[in-house]
């Protein structure tokens, strides 16, 4: 059994695909989660910040005189004597200030005082009022800051080009230190210079009402509040997002891990299903194909494959393979029959060849007692049997009859027709008729029963051995070649009648030729002049005469050999297409015998 080369397994290939899929899904999930949570944080923060900013605005605008107060705080920041982050008890400094102001102006409502009323107060009392409300407001803002977990909550005054911030108020957690140092909560009137990003943020907030900057773990929010004396008041907030982001990242990772586990689980299920429903039956089919290859036994694999019948393409494949094996089996048995048949035909053809050969005179020299002539002939059929034939026999002691003939077509039909023609010709000739009479009678006999419309060309000559007188007739056959002593071989352009079998009632005519001692006569069929080379060129009678004249003194055996060699040299590799038949007789005359 041939060892099969492992060409990789489907499971492995699919598993690799799944692994790549899991990797891609994992990465996509992780980055999408990150991106989404980032956007969500930003949206939430912005919403939350705007609510806080609204709350701050409400706290401020509760005071009818808030604009007057803003202006006062801004212009008197350095003079203000403020008690920051105070607990409002009865002893507190602000409570004292309230009592003092109420004594001086019993009609003044501290919470609802209007700007016009405040303008009427003496300078000292205006300052008292501004200090009281500032303390109240800062306390309120502190509460908001603590409630909302904002890192910084402040209100600043700025103006073109937004490079400074004047701190109006800044909320603080309990215990926070007020001061102008880094990480301290700035007091009223502290001015800081800011960088470009803060400038842009404030300008954007001024133009678009609010603005959120995302600076990694921090987010700054500015909301435009109001304008005083050409200055812009902004509410600002800062969130520290470090913790939030860390928890978001952790969440993203968890989600990603879940997604990957999910994918791996699905992949494993898929692989298992593929193995169960595809690979396992496929392997069974494959094993049976190999079994069939080695045993050529379709019954065995039909039995095996009948068990592999899932209701899908694999089941179809299994069925197809079974059918294929059965067809191959029946095809093989058919081939065996055909081969046996061909073998039988070959044997028959071989016998036919032998019969045909034995029909032609093939013992040379044929008449050892007759010294008047030498004769030699060959027939070389293109197939096993041929339609060409030659014949020669003595009619009586002084008369030699020679026949050269060519039946139309080739193979078995031609061979059968040739046998009939040969027998009719020789029987007629042996009755002592002249060649023309033999041909005429033979033609009539053949035409009487020739439904296949076959025909045969015949040259027949009867040589009177004592005198050398040749009487001949030609029924559509090639011109004979004659060589008289001292002359070259040349075509004898004799009179032609129609081929035998062509038409009933044809009368052929005899002609005579006197042979000298030494005269040679060469007869052939069209297989010689029509021998064809690979480029479809014909050998032709010119080349044939040339070959003959190259050895003018050759005896009949050599003559035939020379012509054959010349034809072979011309044709080379091309297949012999037509029967090749030649006969040569050399007349010696009686005195030599």
């Amino acid at each position: 059994m041939k060892k099969e080369k492992l060409r990789g397994s489907i499971i492995l290939q699919v598993a690799i695909l799944f692994a790549l899929g899991v990797l891609v899904t994992g990465l996509l999930t992780y980055f999408t989660q990150q991106e989404l949570s980032g956007q969500s944080v930003k949206r939430q923060t912005e919403l939350y910040a705007s609510q806080i900013s609204d709350e701050v605005e409400r706290s401020v605008t509760e005071y009818p005189a808030w604009e007057w107060l803003f202006h006062y705080w801004y212009t008197h920041a350095d003079a203000m004597d403020i008690d920051y982050d105070e607990e409002f008890t009865a002893d507190s400094m602000t409570a004292g200030k309230c009592r003092l102001l109420s004594q001086r102006h019993p009609n003044l409502s501290l919470e609802y005082a209007r700007a016009e009323e405040l303008e009427q107060l003496p300078e000292e009392d205006q300052k008292l009022y501004a200090e009281i409300t500032y303390s109240w407001l800062i306390t309120r803002l502190n509460e908001i800051k603590q409630a909302c977990h904002v890192d910084f909550l402040f209100c600043v005054v700025t103006e073109e080009p937004y490079d400074t911030q004047f701190f109006l108020f800044s909320a603080a957690d309990p215990g926070a230190v007020r001061g102008t140092e880094y990480e301290e909560v700035y007091p009223l009137g502290h001015v800081v210079t800011v960088g470009e990003s803060q400038q842009n943020a404030m300008r954007s907030a001024r133009e678009n009402h609010s603005y959120l900057t995302d600076a990694g773990n921090y987010m700054d929010y500015y909301a435009s509040f109001c304008e005083i004396n050409g200055h812009t008041v902004l509410i600002g907030m800062t969130y520290n997002l470090t913790d939030l982001r860390a928890s978001m990242t952790a969440q993203s990772r968890t989600n990603t891990v879940f997604a990957i586990l999910n994918q791996i689980g699905l992949s494993l299920i898929c692989l298992t299903l593929i193995f169960m429903f595809v690979l396992h039956p496929l392997k069974a089919v494959q094993e049976n194909i190999r079994l069939y290859r080695d045993t050529k036994d379709s019954r065995e694999i039909t039995k095996n494959l009948a068990l592999v019948r899932p209701h899908n393409e694999i089941g179809q494949l299994s069925e197809d393979v079974t059918d294929l094996a059965r067809e191959i089996d029946s095809y093989l048995s058919r081939i065996e029959t055909i081969t046996a048949e061909r073998e039988r035909v070959n044997i028959e053809l071989n016998m036919a060849t032998q019969i045909q050969n034995s029909m032609l005179p093939n013992v040379f020299p044929p008449f050892p007692d007759q010294g008047e002539f030498d004769i030699y002939a060959t027939m070389d059929p293109a197939r096993e049997v041929g339609g060409d034939f030659y014949d020669f026999f003595l009619i009586d002691e002084d008369h030699l009859c020679m026949v050269m003939a060519d039946v139309s077509g080739k193979g078995i039909p031609a061979a059968l027709f040739m046998m009939a023609s040969k027998i009719i010709l020789s029987s007629n000739a042996k009755m002592g008729k002249s060649p023309a009479q033999v041909l005429t009678d033979t033609n009539n006999a053949i035409c009487a029963n020739n439904p296949q419309e076959m025909f045969v060309t015949v040259w027949m000559g009867i040589l009177e051995l004592s005198t050398g007188k040749l009487t001949a007739a030609n029924a559509g056959h090639e011109y004979p070649v004659v060589k008289h002593p001292g002359e070259p071989y040349q075509l004898l352009k004799d009179k032609h009648g129609l081929v035998i079998g062509g038409m009933e009632g044809i009368h052929y005519k005899d002609y005579e030729l006197q042979l000298q001692p030494g005269t040679k006569l060469f007869l052939y069929t069209d297989g010689v002049p029509e021998a064809t080379d690979a480029e479809n060129r014909l050998f032709g009678t010119d080349r044939m005469l040339e070959a003959l004249n190259r050895s003018p003194d050759a005896d009949p055996v050599e003559v035939l050999g020379n012509v054959r060699k010349s034809v072979d040299a011309f044709v080379l590799e091309a297949e012999q297409f037509d029967d090749l038949t030649m006969m040569c007789i050399q007349y010696h005359g009686r005195e030599k015998g």
Binding site: V499, G502, D526, L538
Partner: protein
């Protein structure tokens, strides 16, 4: 290789032959003539481009000549010298109308 170009007009047909008319291709011409011959009174075979004719081809000509001889006429035109020689050698020049 044999190409037969057929031009049939009513009972008058011209078959132009191109190539070689031998054992392999003769059945082609035989089939062409047999399928057309019953309706014809004149059949012209144009041999202008025919390179070679073998005895199998001659047999088809003989068949055609016999059939057409009974119902009309057949002629062979534009016969090359090579083929004319074959016709003469085989005696076909005596029974065919060659122009």
């Amino acid at each position: 290789m044999l190409n037969i170009t057929k031009a049939i007009e009513n009972d008058n047909a011209v078959f132009s032959l191109e190539g070689r008319l031998d054992t392999i291709t003769a059945p082609q011409l035989e089939e062409a003539i047999k399928s057309a011959v019953s309706d014809l009174s004149r059949l012209t075979l144009d041999f202008e481009k025919l390179e070679y004719i073998s005895s199998a081809g001659l047999r088809v000509l003989l068949m055609a000549q016999k059939r057409m001889g009974q119902q009309g006429e057949m002629k062979v035109v534009h016969v090359s010298d090579t083929i004319q020689e074959i016709f003469e050698v085989t005696g076909f020049s005596d029974i065919l109308t060659i122009e």
